[in-house]
């Protein structure tokens, strides 16, 4: 009655070896050393680099990242309220070096899938057996007339944590009481779906304590958003949402929230119906895969199609794309998702380089948003792959958001678990 055929047997043997590895029986591979080049040192890139070495110490891993330090985008909204410093979001790559990973600070300008080689702006080239591309998102600047990278130095996106996060914080500090801060939210899909709405809460938290006559307006092209019921509940509890003294106002797409143009000098946003003037303006533009994904011909439309069992590109064999740049539907573009996808990709690459079939993947996402200092909300999901449709589906009956009737105590716990998630996901990717 055994259903174990040869193909399955190889799979099972692979699985057993992986299990063995994790408890200290490294798989010994013979012959030439395999080389993996990882492009991008964010959550996806760092995690895949670390787990490749963990699963097969014989693989030579090189990670190429332009920036000398990594600043987490997650929890960077807390910098806007003053609850967190940029320093607390800044991490070096030394942890990865300790795992035997070669970290190169350079910018990748091309990937040749035939010669299996990665080229950098610094004029170096790196040969690979497998390449992993995890560049994050880039912005569709052209979507909002008058907005561009130069203007963004003063009218920030702050959608990558960095100097713009601090610029935005300083603008809030300098704003007069009674002023208006405007957040322009992007259309789906985009990195960190609850992010703009958490940002509104963190800005309102600062206003509540320091500039109580001020308000935040979110201009949104959408009519619904992530964790909406919970955000509105939290905004109502802390920031008077829905009253005439509300510190947060959300203008939906149907309500005229779609922004078409910016007059940078006047800090005025042109919507379909109205114009909106802000004392502080923050524009989170529509998004697409990071530049290298386009340069390396890995995209179909805005994102990179992949086999979700392995995250191998459907455009070019031997290249894996993960994190925000990949089309990993129905997983959201989040740090936890990138971390989880990276482990699926690492296991698949180790199997492939050692002549084994890929195993069955498992994925999880957990994402917290902080509405007030003692009020956190979350979404969690456990996913499996539907191999026939290539869609990552949430396991029926599992996952979901914080219950609407959760107690204040539970919301307080979500804050401390959010901070724990932050420390652990950073440590898991680069510690």
């Amino acid at each position: 009655m055994s259903k174990i055929n040869r193909r399955n047997f190889i799979k099972l043997a692979g699985g057993a070896t992986l299990s063995g590895l994790s408890i200290g029986f490294p798989f010994v591979s013979f012959g030439a050393t395999h080389k993996v080049v990882v492009v991008g040192g964010g959550v996806g890139g760092c995690t895949v680099a670390k787990y490749l070495r963990k699963l097969d110490p014989n693989i030579e891993v090189t990670l190429i990242e332009a920036k000398p330090k990594y600043q987490t985008c997650f929890l960077s909204n807390e910098v806007l309220s003053g609850d967190r410093t940029m320093d607390s979001l800044t991490f070096g790559y030394d942890g990865l070096k300790k795992h035997g990973i070669t970290v190169v600070h350079d910018r990748v300008v091309g990937i040749d899938p035939n010669k299996k080689s990665v080229r950098t702006a610094g004029g170096k080239s790196f040969a690979y057996d497998r390449c992993v591309v995890s560049p994050g998102v880039d912005f569709k600047w052209e979507a909002i007339k008058g907005y561009n990278p130069k203007v963004a130095e003063t009218i920030t996106h702050a959608w990558y944590a960095g100097p713009q996060t601090m610029t935005l914080r300083k603008q809030l500090l300098a704003m007069k009481d009674g002023g208006t801060a405007i957040i322009v939210a992007p259309p789906n899909p985009f990195k960190c779906p609850p992010g703009p709405y958490e940002r509104a809460a963190q800005m309102a938290m600062y206003f509540k304590h320091h500039k109580p006559k001020s308000k935040v307006i979110i201009l949104d092209p959408k009519d619904a958003f992530s964790k909406q019921g919970l955000f509105i509940q939290g905004w109502t509890r802390y920031y008077g949402y829905g009253t005439d003294k509300s510190m947060i106002e959300w203008v939906s797409g149907a309500g005229g929230g779609k922004v078409e143009a910016l007059h940078a000098k006047k800090r005025t946003l042109v919507g379909l119906v109205d114009e909106f003037k802000g004392d502080v303006v923050n524009i989170i533009p529509p998004q697409k895969a990071g530049k290298i994904a386009f340069d390396a011909d890995l995209v179909d439309g805005d994102w990179c199609p992949v086999n979700k069992k392995t995250f191998e590109s459907k455009r070019h064999a031997g290249i894996h794309v993960l994190g925000d740049a990949s089309d990993a539907a129905k997983m959201p573009k989040s740090a936890y998702a990138a971390n989880s996808q990276a482990k699926v990709a690492a296991a698949a690459i180790v199997n492939a380089l050692n002549g084994r079939e890929p195993g069955t993947p498992a994925y999880v996402n957990t994402c917290y948003s902080l509405i007030a200092q003692d009020w956190g909300i979350s979404v969690a999901a456990v996913y499996k792959l539907n191999e026939s449709t290539n869609i990552i589906e949430s396991v029926k009956g599992s996952g979901g958001v914080t219950p609407m009737d959760a107690s204040p105590k539970l919301h307080r716990q979500e804050v401390i678990y959010a901070h724990s998630w932050f420390k652990n996901v950073v440590h898991d990717m680069m510690g």
Partner: protein, 195 residues
């Protein structure tokens, strides 16, 4: 039986075995890797509140996950997450984490509380939570566990949200009667102080 005595080789065999039973499912390693974003690489949390689950007694791990699944234990995200796994997958993860070494990371603790807690532990807790809470028989590892998590757990036990095992209930009640409620936090700090 002391589960601690199971050798790595036996655990490997169990893992291999469980993979064969669920040929179509993800490996124990693959499943367990998805927990690391909150519970740390291989189940050793760097804190400050998510518990380390490395080294947990596998039967206890399975019981806890099934209790989460049935919403019989208070949780924030864990009920939502536990519902995503079959009992067999939970058992596979249990074996994986039981085989992981519990890594202790330094944390802040109150030295006076920890010192009082040591005496209280020896008197009230050591019989089950042996070796100062290092031995995870029928529980998770207490020694080196994150203090905020221990505080949340003990609060849940004391206000009845979580049911204490009979023996524990008796000991905890006697402890509170003789030493006062604050003594519970002395224990939390004692366990958290273990290196």
């Amino acid at each position: 039986m002391k589960r601690k005595a199971i050798s790595g080789v036996v655990v490997l065999a169990v893992l291999g075995g469980s993979s064969i039973v669920q040929a179509a499912g993800p490996s124990a390693t693959m499943l367990a890797y998805t927990c690391a974003g909150c519970h740390g690489t291989d189940g050793s949390s760097v804190g400050p509140a998510t518990p380390s689950i490395a080294g947990t007694d596998p039967t206890y791990f399975t019981d806890v996950m099934i209790a989460y699944k049935k919403a019989e234990r208070p949780s924030t995200v864990m009920t939502r997450i536990a519902k995503g796994y079959s009992d067999e997958e939970i058992e596979a993860m249990a074996e994986f984490f039981a085989a992981q070494k519990f890594k202790r990371y330094p944390q802040k603790y109150d030295a006076a509380k920890a010192a009082r807690g040591k005496g209280l532990h020896d008197e009230y807790c050591e019989k089950c939570h042996e070796e100062g809470g290092r031995n995870p028989e029928d529980s998770s590892v207490l020694a080196g566990q994150w203090i905020p998590y221990l505080q949340i757990s003990m609060e849940e036990f004391l206000n009845g949200e979580r049911e204490m095992p009979k023996k524990m209930k008796k000991k905890v009640n006697t402890l509170i009667k003789k030493q006062g409620k604050a003594s519970i936090d002395d224990l939390n700090h004692f366990y958290g102080s273990q290196k």
